[in-house]
Symmetry: C2
Subunit: 379 residues, 2 copies
Amino acid sequence: MMPPSACSFQVLSISSDCDARRAVLRTSHGTVQLPAFMPVGTQGTVKGLTVDLVRGTGAEMVLGNTYHLALRPGAEIVDELGGLHRFMGWDGPILTDSGGFQVFSLERLTKVDDRAAVFRSHVDGRILTLSPERAVEIQELLRSDIAMVLDHVVPLPAAPATVRDACERTVAWAERCRQAASREDQGLFAIIQGGLDAGLRRWCAARLVELDFPGYAVGGLSVGETPAEMYAVLDVTCPLLPTHRPRYLMGVGRPEDILESVRRGIDLFDCVLPTRNGRNALAFTDNGPLRLRNQIHRRDPRPLEPDCPCSACRHSRGYLHHLFKANEMLGPILLSIHNLNYYQRLMADIREAIETDRFLDLFQRKMAGWRLTRGGERC
Amino acid sequence: MMPPSACSFQVLSISSDCDARRAVLRTSHGTVQLPAFMPVGTQGTVKGLTVDLVRGTGAEMVLGNTYHLALRPGAEIVDELGGLHRFMGWDGPILTDSGGFQVFSLERLTKVDDRAAVFRSHVDGRILTLSPERAVEIQELLRSDIAMVLDHVVPLPAAPATVRDACERTVAWAERCRQAASREDQGLFAIIQGGLDAGLRRWCAARLVELDFPGYAVGGLSVGETPAEMYAVLDVTCPLLPTHRPRYLMGVGRPEDILESVRRGIDLFDCVLPTRNGRNALAFTDNGPLRLRNQIHRRDPRPLEPDCPCSACRHSRGYLHHLFKANEMLGPILLSIHNLNYYQRLMADIREAIETDRFLDLFQRKMAGWRLTRGGERC
């Protein structure tokens, strides 16, 4: 049984005109100011960045991945080498996902029954069996600060029976994960499933809230649905989650998704977009994305953004364009740095806006800069 | 005509028992402690490292490449974007090579006559004509602190007539480069050619010394000859170079080559080995190289070297092994950092050893650590 003391959460303020909240999460490896964005370190590294560079972007917490680390190098080796913090050299908080997302993303290599998810390794074809108990055991070997229950993620759209089956299994597995958890220094978060079915989402949230987890994630999103469908799920789910527990929207997302979700009461995010897009020469800016491979940047002396303090923005767009045209590693590195900086600055702006109760002002300003309008949703 | 004030050189001390010398080179962008090693930034970036990371290895001066930058993005664009320092964000001294090495390395794409070297671009097939005058013009547009004369490098072994022809052309081109040079803030170094022919090396050195350049490079080495042949060329050439001018051994080399060359009076080096080998999972250490892809490192908790301050050495060998097995960019990045650190620490040790007149002690100790013995050469 995991003790409730492994991590603690405190709401500092709530917006007067929406559900955005300013909060803080305390873990064994330090404190995270919320709302927060976690860079993704799938295989024990945020792709292309030293931990000093990751820290330099403003990130306080990173995400590691149970499935990938269990396959390579193996959870037992990470444990032998001192746990994931020591292994990757990150001394701040780490959250590990449970492998449930790979049931979706590696669907063709996976079989799920009530006992476990069975994967055929995408690396070498070996079999990896992730039961709820093994998912917890791996995360305890990794020694992350926050572990996630093993959930069953299905691609959307899906048949109602498929979504219901996966949702019920997720609840049963959450209880088994809770029973299996033994580390006093690790918090275990539950994951709400239920696809786009409001009734199932409500049912799942109610069951998991009864079990009183130290945190709740909204899972099974960013798997094929539209943004409006995703926001609708948050509209249904967030009000059912206890206000005194952190809320984590898994695998999301674009800057506009983060604003839309914070507005609905989400505290925590992770996504590969800033690093993956960075590697593909796309830079996020307050005026929308820049594609650095475009010839238009060839002679442009301006930085990506005039006020950005990141090391990419000490260079001209012309230089960054050159790096991508010349296939230099530094192009992906610098754009990953910039994009992670961009996300962290967005989160800092969000936190400050909530503190001064001007979140919706920020929301409108950012959306206008990105040239996005909100389609008929409450504001 | 280039003024002699563009860079200045001063010998601080010379070993009592060999020709190793401690010196300093002053340029428009700062001072370089010699003997020094320059990381190679061929295309306007030391591969895989931000300029802060390069600076963090201890490097004071970097090398840029005329041929590659002239092709992409083009010297005029670098000039338009503020020159190479500003373009790549490196505010310390920069030396640019002249493109002469590419006459060798891209031999199949090159035709040389007395007028110029004509390249068919390895990027897009366009023609690039490098005359001595254009090589200087490009380097003046790049605004490097030290420019190199255009030389004619031939692969070894080569027919005597080929070596003689290239050597005579190199002398004629050096004089034309000198006439073409116009920047007051850029020093122009001459390059001694002559293959393995002691007589030609002597002739070339004498002709170029008559022209009184502010620095001299030994070129045309590391192009197919044995280490012993290379050292023999240095034995012939170095004594003919003026003691009050810096001596630069181009494109060399392995740590043992650096020690052997410093012992013979060389002050300055550049080589792609630390970064290229780093990208290929080879780490330099005082006990010889480590190949990080080897399974032997899988569970090894030790750093590459116990006393190395670099960011790679905050990790275990097991972690570095994992990064290469998982094809993570951070593997090449961290090993490039370590290897550049290793080279810079070697140079710092060399400088300190010369200052205290214990260079040959250092020489023996390092060679013993690398398990190398010197084959019958003077010591």
